[in-house]
Every structure is written in C-alpha cells, then in structure tokens.
C-alpha cells in the first residue's frame, strides 16, 4: 500500500523489513523518530541508551552476537560515538550493523552544522545518503546487505529535510534473517596493536573494493538530459536540482557518498560541457572531483553555510527565480520560548536575580539564555556545563566559585554530565552544579532516560537515583528544590554558592507538557490591584503580557504554576475568574 511516511519512519520500516533485531539510540533532532518508530515493531528490541557511544557499542555487541543491529543519532552525537566508530571499522561486523546520523544544515535544532560525511571518510566506513522517504526505506534494507557483504558497519546519513519530510513509500514485509553464529576470533575482534596492525590493511583493501562497487552500484545513477550542464549531487540537493532543471541538465545522483566512484564521475564529466557540484555544507564531492583533475563549479558560487533550496540553486547557477510581493513592515521575530509553566523558568529567574554566571548545556533550558531572563552565558555541547565550571573555578578560585553555577538537564546529565561531576569530586573545585530534573528528555519530544524509571515503550524500567549517585561520588552537599518555590530556590542557591565544598542542587519538577502532570486553574489579573509595575513580566512567560497599563494572563496558556504570583507585591495575580 502506498502511504506517506516521514523519512525517519521510512528508515525504521526499512530496518524492520531487513530483519533488524536490536536498536539502541540516543534521541537528537532530526534523528529521534527513527528509533521511536522502530520501537513500534515488537520484533525489534529497542532502547534509549544514555548516550551515542553506549548506543553504538550496544549495536556492535548485537552484531557480534549475530543479529542485525542499528543505532541512530544526530550529527553531534556521532562525535560522541566516534571512538567505537573508528575502531569497529577495523573489526568489521558479524551480522549487519547500520548507523544513522542525521545532519541539521540550517541548524533548526542544533549547536553547529557540521558535515558528517567527514566522519565516514575519516573512519573509512561506507555512507549512504537517501534523498527522500522512498530511498530512506530502500537504503536501510540494502545497508544491511552491504554491511555483511563488505564486513563493515554502514552509515546512513539523513538531513533535516529528508528526515522530517513525508513522501510516498510502498512498504513490503519483514524478512526473517537467521542469526549468524558468533565465533571466537581474537585476531579480528581484539583491537590491540598486534591485531589492529593486521586489520588496517583489510580496511584499505575493503575501501578499494567499495570504490569498484561504487562505479556500478544501484545507489548511484545517471539521469541524462541536456548535456550543456552536468550536475553531480546527492541527498535533498538532488530534489532541488531536479525542481530547477528537470531535463534541462544531466544529473549524476550519488547515493553512496563514501567512498566516491572515480570512473563513473569521469565518464559523466566527459559527456557534459560544464560540470557543477551541488551539495550542502562542505565541498566533499567537489574536492573529490578536483582531485580527479576536473574543473567544476561548486562552492565558488554556492554557500558553505545553511540549507539549500530551489531558488538558491537557480539563482547561483544563473536560472530564473519567481517574483514575489514584499510587505514594507518590520516584523517582530518569534523565537522559541520556555513554555508557560516550564519548571526551568523559576530557577533561571533566581539565578538571574543573584547575578550568577551560568554555564549551560543542551536542552530546552538553553532557552534560559534569551530575553528577558538572559540567564545563561555558555552552551557548548552535551555535558560541557559540568566539566567547564570546574575549569572556570580552578582558573578563578573563590571569585568564580561564589557566583558561578552549571545547569544541566536530567537526560544530558546521564549522557555526559556524570563524568564531569566525577572530575569535580575527584579534583575538588567548590563548584555548584544544578541538575534540572524535569523527569524526561524534553527538547526532543519526551523520551525516557535512565532517571525516569520507564523504558522506550513506557514500561517500568531501572531508575537511577540522582541523589544517591551524587552522594556515592563523594558530594556531601546534595539539595533538592522545587523550582516553583522561588524563596526556597533563592535560599538554597545562596547557601550552596557560599559553601566551601562542591555541591549539587537538584531542581526537580516534571515538564509541564507531560500528560500525567495535573495543572492548576489559570491565574487572572485583578485589575483593581495591578499597578502595572511589570514585575511579573520579568519571567518571560508567554501567558503574561501587558494590555494597556495592566498585566493580562492568557487563560488558554496559563497552567497555574503561580511563579508570577510570588513576584507580585500587590496580590493582583489570583486563581480563577476576575
């Protein structure tokens, strides 16, 4: 049956049909739905791992045991998993092992826009790049065969526009594959120098064979049209190129992006008058073509940054773009904001009020950096808040320790905050680490994690107790606060900053968007009491605005958290009708 599927959903369908049995991933936009969709198939064991490195090693273990396995992650997650990636390229696999990495050109929901193709090249692992849902489905199925045929993990590279676009897929049925018996093979699987030295030439030979494979494989195809212009492209750029040129150019569409073919490209180049390379982010195909001695147009006209589109490609390659009408008006922006009732808001207000230097991390709470709270001064990568506060405080001593805090969410803490915390406990800086425990992985759309007590299917699971964990590491000061209680937050933050030893504050309240969270009645403004002082406006709550000279509360948004009430000196914010 033909159906519309998200690229990620189609990829999951491909995994299912290919007989994949074990999936371990860490959520990250735009990759999350692959694993969420895979978890809907009972035939696949699925889990959220604490981070991408763990996920990839779980998938590797399952492959070693003889089951087809998968792990999924966003581009920056592959940095975390780079360690196992580079070496399982040497060991190869037993049963097929497929890795999905989803890039985010345009940074819709990311801290950088790195090009993951470099990881494939550097680790010498083949990489497939689908251009729509149909290909995501088909490539996922083929990837396992490729993995087993060439004894290598295979990466499928998605991007936001393939992962989060729906297009038509005609799904088939699951192929049950036999377990490939595990056999002890120390020379292949124990990567100590003596063995790894013998595996490296195997990797180089595999790459040579894969280049041969790339010359004729079904992942790469030529679509001849007008020969005045030839375009080599891949992924979503292919779709934009087709949109602009249709039959007006000849196209070499690459689906196997590492390693790249040589003869196929040279033969194609020989058939066209002029050659252009259209690829988002870095000039990977372009540099390969230049290395082959070809003269090409590419990053000389097309940008290294951001997403491409049909108009951008048309304009840069000299085609016409449609006309449009403009409104002569300054539009206020609409940046994302913390939701009404978000438990992070109260804590950030207190940190801002105490003029703390806040070193932040990756999650919804990164929004603590935006106006009017402006309460975060650093965000780098997963876990960096906890590690860097230690460096910050070691560098500044007391001047740092008495006003600096690290803030990190529960899931991010499990991902890579724990190791930084171990460093604070071990090398002793008087750092104050605040774990924002909203009992869920929020930003990526509510995934369970090791602290929530539930697994990916919502069934009861192991639950790591954060207080016990911190105490076991040697933290004598572990406080738990409710971020809706501003007075308590203020008192505890001041105490822990003043303490002459390392401390952890757990700011605990579930995400206001969780279905099980019961909301209180919305507040309303008693207009006779409101003097228009705007104290409540300092919270940056989307439910509160000024209507004329008085505050007003949008009762469709307000969840009755009463944080604003605690800022009002005139008792003007009260539950229920005015």
């Amino acid at each position: 049956m033909k159906q519309l599927m998200l690229g990620n959903q189609a990829l999951a369908r491909g995994l299912y049909e290919a007989g994949c049995s074990v999936v371990s991933s860490y959520p990250g936009t735009p990759s999350t739905e692959v694993t969420e969709e895979a978890a809907k198939y009972d035939e696949i064991y699925c889990e959220w791992a604490p981070n991408e490195k763990v996920a990839m090693e779980v998938a590797f273990g399952a492959s070693l045991a003889g089951k087809r396995s998968f792990c999924g992650m966003k581009h920056v997650g592959l940095n975390v998993a780079a360690d196992p990636l580079f070496t399982c390229s040497y060991t190869g696999v037993n049963a097929g092992m497929v890795i999905c990495v989803a890039d985010d050109a345009g940074m819709h929901s990311s801290q950088n826009e790195q090009d993951s193709r470099h990881h494939a090249i550097a680790s010498k692992v083949p990489m497939l790049e689908p251009s729509d849902s149909g290909e995501a489905y088909e490539f996922a199925k083929q990837a396992f065969k490729l993995s087993e045929e060439f004894d290598t993990p295979v990466i499928i590279k998605m991007c936001t526009r393939v992962a989060h676009s729906q297009s038509i897929v005609e799904a088939g049925v699951r192929e049950e594959v036999d377990t490939i018996p595990y056999e002890k093979n120390i020379a292949k699987y124990v990567m100590m120098p003596g063995n790894a030295i013998r595996r490296h030439p195997v990797v180089e030979e595999r790459t040579r064979k894969l280049i041969q494979y790339a010359e004729n494989c079904a992942f790469n195809r030529v679509e001849m049209g007008d020969t005045k212009l030839g375009i080599i492209t891949s992924s979503t750029s292919y779709q934009y190129v087709k949109e602009v040129f249709g039959e007006k150019a000849s196209i070499l569409k690459l689906g196997l992006i590492n390693p790249l073919p040589e003869k196929l490209i040279l033969n194609f180049a020989a058939k066209v008058e002029k050659l252009a390379i259209v690829e988002e982010l870095d000039p990977v195909i372009e540099n390969h073509c230049k290395h082959l001695g070809l003269t090409v147009t590419g990053k000389d006209v097309l940008p290294l940054e951001g997403e491409y589109s049909q108009n951008l490609i048309a304009e840069k390659l000299g085609e016409e773009v449609p006309a449009y009408r403009k409104l002569n008006e300054t539009m206020p922006g609409r940046p994302p904001v913390m939701c009404a009732g978000c438990p992070h808001r109260g804590l950030f207000y207190i940190l801002s009020k105490n003029q703390c230097t806040v070193l932040g991390d990756i999650g919804c709470y990164t929004l603590g950096a935006v106006a009017p709270l402006n309460a975060m001064e650093m965000t780098l990568c997963m876990g960096a808040s906890v590690s860097s506060i230690h460096g910050f405080n070691k560098a500044l001593g007391e001047a740092g320790e008495e006003k600096t805090v690290a803030v990190i969410g529960d899931s991010t803490f499990m991902h890579s905050g724990m190791t930084g915390l171990a460093n604070i406990a071990y090398n002793q800086s008087n750092s104050t680490v605040i774990i924002l425990d909203n009992s869920i992985t929020g930003m990526t759309g509510h995934q369970q994690n090791p602290t929530t007590g539930y697994n990916i299917k919502g069934d009861p699971a192991g639950k790591i107790d954060l207080e016990s964990l911190c105490r076991a590491m040697g933290f004598g000061r572990v406080a738990v606060i409710d971020p809706y209680d501003l007075e308590e937050c203020d008192r505890v933050v001041k105490e822990e900053l003043a303490a002459k030893e390392p401390s952890v504050i757990i700011s605990r309240r579930p995400c206001a968007l969780l279905k099980y969270v019961k909301h209180s009645a919305p507040l309303a403004v008693k207009e006779d009491r409101c003097v228009g002082c705007k104290s409540c406006m300092r919270l940056g709550c989307p439910a509160i605005s000024m209507k004329g000279k008085k505050a007003a509360i949008d009762n469709t948004l307000c969840v009755g958290c009463k944080v604003c009430q605690q800022l009002c000196k005139f008792d003007a914010l009260q539950p229920g009708e005015v």
């Binding site: 936009t29 729509d132 729906q166 773009v321 449009y324 009408r325 403009k326 409104l327 904001v337 939701c339």
Partner: protein, 190 residues
Amino acid sequence: MTKNIMIVGVGGQGSLLASKLLGHLLLSEGYDVKVSEVHGMSQRGGSVVTYVRFGEKVYSPIIDKGEADFIVSFEKLEAARYVEYLKEGGRIVTNTQEIDPMPVITGAAVYPDNLIEKMQGIGIAVDAMDCLSLAEEAGSAKAVNIVLMGRLSKYFDIPVEKWQQAIEECVPAKFAALNHQAFLLGRGDA
C-alpha cells in the same frame, strides 16, 4: 504542475494535524505528495512552517519565495511574515487571532497594526476569519486547524465527503463529530 500549500503558525497550535490531513486527502486523490515539517526547538512557541506540495511528480520537499499557491496561517502576524513566499495570484487564508511573540511581550517590539489591510494594499488576496471563535463554537479551541481546512477546502475542486473522510482518518473517533462541525463552520456551510 505542482501546487504548493504553506501552513504557518506558532509552535503548539496544531499545524501538524492540518498537514497530515492534507497529506491523506491528496494521496487519496492520486497525487504525488511531499510534506515537510520542522521539529525540535522551533516547536517551543516559535514561528513554525509546514510545506505541503502535490502534483504529478514532486521533487523539492520545501516551498520557496514566490511559489506558494496558498498560505494557510494560524495567526495574523505569521501570515504577514511569510507573504514573500506567495506566488503571483496566490491567496492567504488566515485566522485573525493575534498571539504576542516574546519581543512584543517584553516591550522590545510592537505587534504591527492593520496587517490584513496592509497585505491587501500590496495586491494580495486575503481570506481572513476568526477561526478561534468558530472552533469554540464547534466545541473546542483546539479545532482551529480544522476550521482553517474547512475554509481552504472552498478553493479546491475536491468533494466535501473526501475532506470529511480524511478528517476521520486523522482524528480520534470521539472527536470526529466536533471536527466535522468545525470543518463546516470554516467552509461556511454550517
């Protein structure tokens, strides 16, 4: 010829249901369809855009400036923000609801006035209606998306029954009657 519908609004307003409904409908009409969404950070109350494209063969999953046949907007400012994406002769179908963005809430910016008149002033066809009131009349403020779909349906040569069928496929059975009513109110047939 590929047709382009852009759905714009504020994160959390329910635009994903609208695009799902259109996807179902257009697929059942035999078209090639692509729908592009953005997930993640921008869903947190930010400006969100969904692209729906259909025709004999659709390549790009996104809609670029000057290409949209329709911009369906859940919020007035968002309709105006994406005016440049409208094709010559295209039409904006918008909810008249105003939702203040954070820069307006904090006083750093003002919500522009008379946006509909200003859009009409540059020659754009704007079909504006108070979808929130109609949704509440149907029984739930959350049905704004279906009210808008009802309005949009007026411009398509697809029988009402087909739209209603797509609604049934996309919403839980217990809300089907409410959404049918919302659709008809939006269409002006109730």
